[in-house]
Subunit: 383 residues, 2 copies
C-alpha cells in the first residue's frame, strides 16, 4: 500500500473536517494536536499530542508523514523552513505561508503584485498613527493590527480620531510590528476561495458573501447575491494570481472588501480550509477540505462548482446553553434537509462550536432555514 | 455535554463510513473491531479490539455506549438478548435482527406478513431437496442456502437437476438448517432501502437497481431505470411494512427480484447500511449512514430524496494490482466530478476495497464514468 500519510498540525475543527474529507480518499491522517480533547483529536485515530511551537516535536511528528499541512497559522515560520530544508514536503511551504502569518509581509507583497489593498504601512507609535491617518490614509478612522497573532477581531483596533490615537497604545505593547490601514468604507465582505496544487493546477470556488457580526463570520452566502459577474471573475482571477505568485499549495481564502464604488480590496489571506468555504461540504461538488487534501498530495483537483443555486452556511456560536444536543430534535424535525456540523467542542459564549448549511432554489428560504437552526442551537430562540 | 456515544460492532467499511457520517453530528463513535487494521479501526479514535462473539467482550464494550448498532449480522442473537435484558439499547434489537441473521426465520415471518417471497421451505437432505423441487417449487433448478452465515454468494448453491441434488451435499454439512427456494426467473435485482427510528418515523429511499456479477453487487443505479412508478411505490411500501412489522430500527435494505411479469419478490434483508445504499453519500440529501446514526439515536430522520436525476455507484474490487493509489491520478484528472470512496483495506482479488459514485442528468454518461473509474482502479483497463 502506498496510500500516503497526511500530517496535519493543529487539532481544531478544520483538521476535524479535513480528516472527515480524507476518509473516502483512503489516505492515512495523522494529527499533531495541543490536547487529546481538541476537536479533531476526538475523531481521528492517529493523534500525537504535542506543542506545534516546538521544533523537535514537529520533527518527530513529521517522520511518519508524507506531507505536512496546517489547521492554523501558528507554527513558527523558521521551524517550517527547517523541516523543508530537511526534505519534508510542507504545504503550503513557509515562503508562502508567511504571507498568511504576517500581515506586514502580506501587504508589502500584494502591493508589489499590484493587488488592490487598503492604504497601509507599519507604524511605530501613536504619533506615527496620526501622521499615517492625516497624510496617507485620507483621515480617521484607521485600523491598527498586530502583524502576527490576530484572528476573528482579536489583534485589531479601530482608531476613530487623533485623540483616540493617543489612547490606543495596546497594539504597541504586543512586541510585534503594528500595521496601520485605512478603514475601508465597504458595503460588504466577500471571499474568493481557490485551491492550488504543487504542479500548478488551480480551481476557483464561486465568490461568496461573508456576513460578519462583531468581527466574527456569522453567515456565508454562496454565491454572493447580486455580485456583478465581471467583479466575481476579477476577484477569482485576483485570488488565482495570489495563489500562483505566492506559490500557495492547498486552499487559499482571500477575504475581500467590496466598496460602494464597486472595487474589491484584499482584507486578509488564509492558507488552509476557511470558514468562508464550509458551505462547500454540502453545496459544492468537491468540498474545500477534499480539495485541500488533494492539493497537498499533488493529486488532480475536484470540481469546485456549486450543486444548488444557493447555499447558506451559518456559524453556531456558543450561547447560554452548554448542551446543544437536545436542540437536534427540533432542528432536524423542522428541516429534514438541514445539514448540521458540530465540532465536539465545549460550549463557551461566542465560541464557534459548529455550523449549519442549507441549500435550495430560493435564497430567502435557504437563508431563513440556516439562520433559524443556528439561533435555535445557540438557544437565542425557542421556537 | 450529553452528546451520545454510538457503539458500533464490527470494523468493516460500513462502520468506517458510519463514523465518517457521524462526525458532523458531533456524536461520539466507539468501535468494537476484530483487528486494529480493520477498515473502520484505521480512521476512528475510540477503538476496542475484541471478539464480537464473546458476551463478556460485548458487555464491557457496551458499558461506554448509549446505544449499540452493527456493521454486520454476526453477533449471536442470544448475546444481544442478554445485552437488551441488561438495559442496553440495541438497535436493531435481536427480535428484529434475527430476521437478517436467519433466512429461515425471515422467510417464515415474511410469508405470515403476506410479503411476496420465492417458494421455499427448510429441507433435511438431498432427497428432501428433490421432493421440494418436484412437488412444491415447480421443478429444478432450486437454490439452497444455509440459514445463517452466507453473504455475497457464499453459503448459496444452485441445484440444477435431480441428479445434481444428490451431488450437492455441502450445505448439509454446515451444521445449520438448509433453506431451499425456487430459483426465481428474475429480470433484474432491485433494492428498497428504508430507515426507521424507535419512535416509528420512517423514510424510504428511491428503489434502485442492483447489478450483480458472480453473486456480488457490481453496480447500483438510482433510481432503477424504467421501473414503473406503481411498482416502485409498492416496493417502498413493502419495505416500510417489513420495517414496521419487524420493528426494525436503523437502516433496512430489502433486496428484491423483479420478475418478467412485473412482480417483485423479497430476496434478502439486511439491517444495517448496505452496499445498495452507498450511492446516497453523494446522491441523496441525507446518506444512509447519516440516517442510520439518526435512527439508532431516535433523532428525526433526514430527507432521503436524490440530489441528481441519476446516481451510479460501482464497486471497486481487488484485482491484480495491489496498490490503487497511483490510479487516483488518472481517475481524478479524467473526471473532476468523480467521488472515490476507499476503505483502507489490503487488496485481494475479488474483495470489495472501495466504490466510486457519479451523478448527473444523462444516465449513459453517469454510468460510463462510474464503470471506467472502477475498472481503472482495479487495473482491468489502462486508459
Amino acid at each position: 500500500m502506498t496510500f500516503p500519510v497526511v500530517g496535519m498540525v493543529g487539532g481544531g475543527q478544520l483538521a476535524r473536517m479535513t480528516h472527515e474529507a480524507g476518509i473516502p480518499l483512503g489516505i492515512r491522517f495523522k494529527l499533531l494536536s495541543a490536547s487529546p480533547q481538541d476537536s479533531a483529536a476526538l475523531v481521528a485515530g492517529d493523534v500525537v499530542v504535542g506543542d506545534h511551537r516546538d521544533l523537535d516535536t514537529l520533527r518527530a511528528f513529521a517522520k511518519g508523514c508524507d506531507v505536512i499541512t496546517f489547521d492554523h497559522e501558528h507554527v513558527p515560520t523558521e521551524h517550517l523552513r527547517v523541516l523543508e530544508a530537511e526534505g519534508i514536503p510542507v504545504r503550503p511551504g513557509p515562503a508562502a505561508l508567511v504571507h498568511a502569518q504576517d500581515k506586514g509581509v502580506m501587504r508589502a507583497r500584494l502591493t508589489r503584485l499590484g493587488v488592490p489593498c487598503p492604504r497601509h504601512r507599519i507604524v511605530e507609535d501613536p504619533a506615527d498613527v496620526r501622521r499615517f491617518a492625516e497624510t496617507e490614509a485620507g483621515g480617521f478612522p484607521v485600523v491598527l493590527k498586530t502583524v502576527r497573532g490576530g484572528y476573528d477581531g482579536k489583534g485589531v483596533w479601530i482608531v476613530a480620531s487623533a485623540a483616540d490615537a493617543d489612547r490606543v497604545t495596546e497594539p504597541f505593547l504586543a512586541g510585534v510590528p503594528v500595521l496601520a490601514e485605512e478603514k475601508v468604507d465597504f458595503v460588504r465582505e466577500l471571499a474568493a476561495n481557490v485551491v492550488r496544487s504543487p504542479h500548478g493546477q488551480a480551481v476557483a470556488y464561486p465568490v461568496v458573501e461573508s456576513v460578519q457580526v462583531g468581527g466574527v463570520c456569522d453567515t456565508v452566502i454562496a454565491p454572493a447575491p447580486g455580485l456583478p459577474a465581471a467583479t466575481a471573475v476579477a476577484a477569482q482571477e485576483m485570488a488565482l494570481t495570489v495563489a500562483r505568485e505566492l506559490e500557495v499549495t492547498g486552499h487559499l481564502a482571500v477575504e475581500l472588501f467590496e466598496t460602494a464604488d464597486g472595487r474589491v480590496l484584499v482584507n486578509e489571506l488564509a492558507m488552509r480550509p476557511h470558514n468562508s468555504g464550509h458551505w462547500t461540504q454540502d453545496g459544492a461538488v468537491t468540498s474545500q477540505f477534499a480539495n485541500h487534501v488533494r492539493a497537498v498530495l499533488d493529486l488532480p483537483l475536484g470540481d469546485p462548482r456549486p450543486r444548488a443555486p444557493w447555499t447558506v452556511m451559518a456559524n453556531v456560536l456558543g450561547g447560554d446553553f452548554p448542551d446543544m444536543y437536545p436542540a437536534f430534535l427540533h432542528c432536524m424535525a423542522r428541516d429534514p434537509q438541514l445539514k448540521i456540523h458540530m465540532y465536539g467542542k465545549d460550549v463557551k459564549p461566542g465560541r464557534k462550536v459548529g455550523h449549519v448549511t442549507t441549500y435550495g432554489d430560493d435564497l430567502a428560504d435557504v437563508r431563513e432555514r440556516a439562520r433559524h437552526a443556528a439561533d435555535y442551537l445557540r438557544g437565542i430562540i425557542d421556537e
